[in-house]
Amino acid sequence: MADIAKVRLTIDGISTEAEKGVLLVEAARRIGIKIPVFCSHSKLLPLGACRICLVEIEKAPKLVTACTTPVGEGMVVFTRSARVVKARQGIVEFLLANHPLDCPICDQGGECELQDVCFEFGRGKSRFEDIKRNFDNKYGRIKLSPVLSWVNNRCIHCERCTRVCHQVVGEDHIGMLNRGDKAMISTFQFTQMTCELCGNCAEVCPTGTITNGTVKYKDRVWNLTPNPSVCLLCSSSCATRVWTDLKGKVTRVTAPKDEQDCCDFLCAKGRFSFDADQGEQRLREGTKITSEVAETFQQSESLQPTVQAFKALAKDSGSTAVIYNSRIANEEAYLVGRIARTVLKTPHVVPLENHEGLTSYLDRFSGRQSTSKDILSADLILLVDAPLARETPMIGYFVTRAVRQKGAALYTVGPEKTRHSSMGLAHHWNAPGASKDFVLSLIEALQSRKSDASAEFNKIVDAVQGSRQMVIIAGSRPLAEGPAFIRAIESLSSKVANSKVLMVPEGGNTLGAMLMAGSGMRVPGWGSNVSQNGCSVQEDVLGAIEKGSIKNVLLIGEDLQEGLINWPRWKTAFAKLANLVVFDAFRSELTSLATLAVPVRSFHEFEGSVLSALGEWKIARGSIPGAVGQSMSRLLLKLESELGGAEQSFASVTSEVKKLYQWHVSRATEAVEDKKSADSAGKDKSTGGNPGKDGVFLLIGNDLYHSGAMTLRGAHLGQFLNRSLLMNSADAEKMKISNDARVQLKIGSDKVSVAVRTTDDIMSGCCFLALNSLSPDERRWFGGIGKPLTAVIISGGAA
């Protein structure tokens, strides 16, 4: 990194230095001088609209806004001079002139930036005698969003929300209408807002204009305690603040503020699923079912029944399988892996989410994948079948910022046109399952162009050749193509200077859980764990249970039943088992079938560290008062020591886990030198195919607002669920299917009835269906995230 020149300046008599380009507001903040801001935000481009940050610079004729002025050599800045104080008082007075007296009923009271700034910097005595402007006419009352509360009267026109919508969320949903004192923020023609980063405008709004409508009037901020935690719904793994009220109940979730390395933003999933893990659906008492009796126990008493159950599992080690899902912390996955191998001595340690390419990605790219800084400083971003908006919105947030704030070029490839495609320069249609082919043809074209390539493809090749710093992001479908795709992308990356790779899997702590539990990965001290006879995916376990070679299963994680593919088949298989031990946070048929069900903490309550897709290590404190019992890690540690393992403290587990990650990172770095695997990329066979006559590729994914079924458990996001089949308009016309018609989807021998929505955003020959719009029974044909299925559409199908 080249040294950025430093500049010396004086603020309020304190001599300081800052890098060239740093704004005055930031330079003052670093030495502890607080300059009030409204329109300025550390993650948004500077605007200078509100004028509250005016400061006096010696020899400058007028006061300047500190949020738009970069530091200059020899600047002498005064933030408390008489002129500045008077200017601030004036600005405050103007802002409050039209502001309604809503403080007693405004949710933002107590955490309102307007209140705080006006109290500290205002005159304290009002001189306003006239009538305040009022938007409470028919336009002001239109409900713009089912989850956000809008009160236009309170707006101070800082335009943070519109800039967030444009620069950070990328939706361009809201803007300023009218002029002067009639200016108001609204959507175009008052349409409903449907952003997957819903709620960020509320997060940045300094007043109570836009607030979280789901917690309206529920509580005041001084009754709430923020608990640092990490969201486990997708692999963005955003740091969150989970706010609990005086009774310990989770009331709302917000993003952490004022922390340099954290996003100040969350997506709709993380924000509005705060109530998903409350109420009757939680498993709060353990159950133990023996042949005679079913008894319940509290989590605090769960140790002894669990010890007995594990001893039974350990006796039969060859026929015991351990399945975990991605909604567990690194420490928990590590302990599961360790117990499975050292105590239960089983070769079957299987993640619920099947990502065949994930092990080779982790082997080769741990620690050297693209980070958020790489995305923000890239000048070319290539999204290869990565519907970021749907799967991992907050990684999409970095892409949006790179494009909208830094001017990066964006190209998208794949069978779906995502929201990012609309801000990209071109979209290249590519069949599902053929991402590897695309990458290989790109590598070829870099050396010699083919004449039959499409215009978009050529644009992409040109861009790649001319890029200074490139980031390639691929989603869960390319990952499902297996190690071949990883080899292809590694080959591409090695041929393009200064390029970084990022794979974005589905699920929560997918990367961390796989690394720490060691499925398919080598773990020092545990030898090679991809044993010859071990199952590696959940279908193998299912087959083995049906054959009878596996008689005991330990399922550990959160919301497990949803992750089991083809639940009816599993259900019949489970009936054959001798022991079914389930650690879960939610009640389901699975937990009622289990011979031992142990309640564990949910995704808001857990304690531990999480590895995000961008390689960030984030820590959840697990300090929620209402949490069910102790954290899983501590329970597993106690279990281990009861079963003969050494006693270990939680703190030492966290450091072991950290060291294990460093070990993987160092191995991946060594792999860079190993050129052999990169060269073998071209030899893998093509996996892209033909859907067959009358058939289409059926793409399965999670709906815009949802992460599996977890978010459906809450009350708020369910109203956003899209249950339609998205179909290409040209295909629909050919098959004479109109918009909103009902069709039958024939997948294998199963049939599903769905309504159709025609769109141009999906490739001809493909259609998209949201997984969580179907019940577990309806989706028994589902083979795993990322695997395209072929389906036949039968029009005119009744239910």
């Binding site: 405050v92 409050l96 007296l101 403080c103 107590g110 006006c118 109290f119």
Partner: protein, 419 residues
């Protein structure tokens, strides 16, 4: 100490028992000590004070006061409340002189904020006026209860009736008879109504007559003199080493009154004397307080005659609450009211120790602020606590009846001791 052998219970028992009973009597004086529990629920302990007396017959050999029965964690509460929110808590400390408690705390906060010199003159004058009325009220109740502890039944009725007049004055001013919360950080809660001055004038007129009556009825009373003279002698050195203050200290010959030593709230503008007596016994403490009532009446007289005009609140919108009617139509006032009520003002970093002369002695606070809306530490300097600590020293060797007199003369309030 005792000169003759006081008949023990054993002797008396022998005198009345029949011949068959043989009673062992030991000569060891230690065996004669009986432990007697006095309190905490006792009419003569002036609150919930528990005294464990070791008595040899009627003579006290040891007194161990046990306190804490009225502890409500006020100092700890102070760490969780804004500075303004804590004022009603101070009312409950010395509940017989709440306005003085308010003043002691508020002067500390004002010193921390650095606004002591900006308090308007009218506010300071009225603070003095009400402090002295409060002192009279506190001494009146002391007079009544001490007298009734000693057996004189009549004075309490007269004393409480005078106190009623003062209570009525308080009610007229701020709505509360006892727990006033009238003084606020930056001045007073609101200006006095016009009806109050005639009430105070009337009270002063009546009180002048009453003071003379108390002088004759009580001070010249031979029974009282016998009960109090020579009882609970506190030497000057002992008083100073135990850190006593107020009338207890001044009765032992130390001329120390905070109003003269470190004048606050404009006391330097008033002419008054400090009564000091040399004997240090209960009677001296009695006389000090009687004289103090007279001096306080003088101060009230001077105060009434020359109340300055002007505002009663400092003009700092970031410290004091705005007028309520303004918050219902004006944005800045509403915001200020919201922030001040829900959070409080931001105090500068610092620590102060500030005391006043309360009716019991030197009362004050030690405030430590690390910035923010709540104090880091709020330590209350309580005169009754220190005055009570001197009790064992001055009551060894007296009779049980004398303990009652001594406690009365110390004039302690358990609310202030226990907090």
């Amino acid at each position: 100490m005792i000169s003759e052998k006081i008949p023990t219970s054993v002797d008396k028992f022998k005198a009345i028992s029949s011949d068959n009973i043989s009673v062992q009597e030991s000569d060891d004086p230690g065996d004669r000590i009986v432990t007697l529990n006095m309190g905490p629920s006792h009419p003569a302990t002036h609150g919930v004070l528990r005294l464990v007396l070791s008595i040899d017959g009627e003579v006290i050999t040891e007194v161990v006061p046990h306190i804490g029965y009225l502890h409500t964690g006020m100092e700890k509460l102070g760490e969780y409340m804004s500075y303004h929110q804590f004022i009603p808590i101070t009312d409950r400390m010395d509940y017989l002189a709440p306005m003085l408690m308010n003043l002691g705390y508020i002067l500390g906060v004002e010193k921390l904020l650095g606004i002591t010199d900006e308090i308007p003159a009218r506010a300071q004058w009225l603070r003095v006026l009400y402090s002295e009325l409060m002192r009279i009220s506190s001494h009146l109740i002391w007079l009544g209860t001490s007298a009734i502890d000693l057996g004189a039944m009549s004075p309490i009725f007269y004393a409480l009736q005078d106190r009623e007049q003062i209570m009525n004055i308080f009610e007229e001013t701020c709505g509360a008879r006892l727990t006033s919360t009238y003084f606020r950080i930056g001045g007073l809660r609101e200006d006095i109504p016009d009806t109050v001055i005639p009430m105070i004038e009337k009270f002063l007129k009546d009180f002048a007559i009453r003071l003379d009556e108390y002088q004759n009825l009580v001070t010249g009373n031979p029974i009282l003199i016998n009960r109090l003279k020579g009882i609970g002698c506190l030497s000057k050195e002992t008083a100073l080493s135990y850190c006593c203050s107020g009338p207890v200290l001044r009765a032992s010959g130390v001329n120390y009154d905070v109003r003269k030593a470190r004048p606050y709230s404009g006391y330097e503008k008033f002419k008054f004397n400090i009564p000091v007596y040399q004997e240090g016994d209960s009677y001296a403490r009695f006389l000090v307080r009687m004289d103090e009532m007279r001096e306080s009446a003088t101060i009230v007289r001077q105060a009434i005659d020359a109340i300055p005009a002007g505002p009663v609140k400092i003009d700092r919108t970031d410290i004091i609450l705005p007028d309520k009617h303004r918050t219902q139509g004006n944005m800045e006032e509403l915001i200020n009211h919201f922030i001040l009520s829900c959070r409080g003002f931001n105090a500068p970093v610092g620590e102060v120790f500030s005391t006043i002369e309360s009716s019991k002695g030197e009362f004050g606070v030690y405030l430590v602020s690390t910035g923010g809306e709540k104090p880091y530490r709020l330590r209350v300097h309580s005169p009754s606590f220190l005055n009570l600590s001197v009790l064992p020293a001055i009551s060894r060797g007296s009779l049980i009846a004398d303990i009652v007199a001594i406690i009365g003369s110390l004039d302690i309030v358990l609310g202030e001791i226990d907090r």
